[in-house]
Amino acid sequence: MAVTRFPVPEESRRTSFVGMVMALASWTMLFVALFFAYAVLRLRASAWPPDGLAPLPKALPALNTLVLLGSSILLHFGSRPEAEAKRGALRRALLGTLALGSLFLALQLAVWVPLWRSGFRIDTGTYGSIFYGLTVFHALHVLAGLVALAVLLPGAFSGTYTSGRASAVRLSAMFWHFVDAVWVVMFVAVYLV
């Protein structure tokens, strides 16, 4: 048998991309199931918010949505391969994203704490359960995303990573965008409608 082999490029980067897409598909189903639970409970309630509870605040969460969206935009442009030409673009994007992500968590606390103090807690009927269950679970993902981005910093400063061409940067960024996208849906579903 005469087998001719052509040279092949290094493509393990693509393999990890496929894996991340599957992992995020799986994660999406987790949040879809949580939103499904919310939808069922809400459809079964006679009024929403139920039991004469006050509606949730909207202004601060809206601002927080902008914060998170801003962080995604920053990360996206800072990790594009085209940004490689600008020195330190990735470094700045990572630091900016970490700052905005932390600001998001701080603002979340500013939403939770007064509500909790006013007596609106996780055991305040399904309204409290949904609100704290969904937003805290999401905030834990933001925290995980911040950790995933923070561990890239040493590499970004030493020059190991210069853009999203590096798999580690690309995958962490994908996770971050995913967490942001979930937030947008959560903001609309939990606070707005």
Partner: protein, 603 residues
Amino acid sequence: MGDATMSKPVPVRHLHVGPEFHAEQHIHPEPTSFLSRYVFSKDHKVIAKQFLWYGLFFLVMGGVMAMMIRWQIAFPGTAFPVLGQLLWPQSGGVMPPQSYAAFFTMHGTLMIFFAITPILIGAFGNLLIPLMIGARDMAFPTLNLMSFWTNVLAGLCMIVSFFVPMGPAAGGWQSYPTLSTLVGSPGHGQTLWILGIFLTGSASIMGAVNYITTVVRLRAPGMGYFQMPLSVWGIWLTAILNALFVPVLAAGVLLLFLDRVFGSHFFLAGASITKGGGDPVLYQHLFWIFGHPEVYILILPAWGIVSDLLSFFSRKPAFGYKATALSMSVITLLSMVVYGHHMFVVGMSPLLSQGFMTLTMLISIPSAVFFLNWLGTMWRGSIRFATPMLFSLGVVFVFGLGGLTGLHLGAISSDIYLHDSYFVIGHFHLTMAASVLLGAFAAIYFWFPKMFGKMMNETLGKWHFWLTIIPITIVFCGMLVVGYAGMQRRLYNYEAYEFLKHLHPINVWITRAALLLGASQFLFVGNFLSSLISGKKAAENPWEVGTLEWTIPSPPPHHNYDEIPVVLHGPHEFNNPAVTGKDWLAQDEPIGDEPVALGAVGN
């Protein structure tokens, strides 16, 4: 053949090489320390063995529980021999009601998540995917390692739950609220159950992401999707379902966890709370959105393995190979949209119920396709009745029974009568316990030589088969009968009900058959252990089949393939008229001097 008289030049065969071939597969050096080699190994073959031992351990545990449950049903109020005195000295060895509930709960949980899943998906998924598609390892070896050890943590949660006050979870393997909320089970057992399920679910997802990516990216050149062995098809489809639907269970148990630990009200309703109200039925939705795909998660690998083995031992190409692969895929898709048939008696809208019934009935069509393909594969074949083949035939038999009885449960009118009866127990044990277990045995007998480099004893294997298939059929068909007669599942003492008393003789016979089934597994354990130590050394290809794993030594070297094979044929190339001297052809074995060119995509 280099025949000089041949006038026509042989056309060059251009193999389509997908992007997957471009993934570089390095040969990693073999680990040398004990820990990195046997404990925290990243080698898919070692992880497969770890999963096999792990699954067999829980299979024994779940099996012993089944024996105790059956003992209580047939001989209520009598002490279970030996173990009873150890477990329940205060009642003289008789299983108390609370333990009965805990044992049927944990029997289901352990068998499904900690025995069947690790053996078929963990062990054979890991072993077969890289070997059968011609890869050096999984796409993500570290994730593979994490998947196994996360599973071990999950198993520990389950084991520890037996030793906490008030015992393990006892609300059934589905753990419906309110049985599973603090109202129904105040002990820590149920909380540990939730943690265990969450962890084992995470492990399943890690495995699934790895399996899917490996199949998509690391197939050897020439190995298109329709050149893959059907075993890989089955495991791959299972991985897709795992990745998409285990998260739904995770969400369900997460909310249950919040209800139990942080006092939220997702599933609480009625007098137990003061403000608002959750919905216990919501959990049932979440559970069955996962739960129905789960039964296919369990059975698909066994279907794939049996489809291959029937062809191998009938010495014929698999009849309707593509139709089998596609019908398994269609079933995978349909399994995502039929979960409502588990909830016909919950109080769903009749319109919705009818939709779910129709979709459920549709599954019969692809099921009949691959089932008839199995029969077509064997039709006029030169069947070799080796032990793996016997077990494969066993799968065909019990799955046939289980599949047919499923129709009665998919139809609303008969399901309302049969719901929660032993008919359901008989049905799902035939499909996802008996078939899957027999499929697992077929796989173990068949790939044991490749895994361990030794042959298993054929005589003991055949005894094991007959002493398994006969009692297993009696046990689960007996359950169909008592269920049809109206016996409800989960009764501690059914003889307390006048209308069920006359079922005593058949229940005693079911239990006797179950005890025989349990005892005959010692034949397997003995065979497995003695073959491991002193079995006959296995040749490279003892079964004379053509899939890639049989072209390399038994057991394979650390990196599997010295050179990545180039696949030229399908997995079941039997009795090709162009081949002389043998009736099989390896997938990478050229016929004559056929020239082959490998090209990159787009060139």
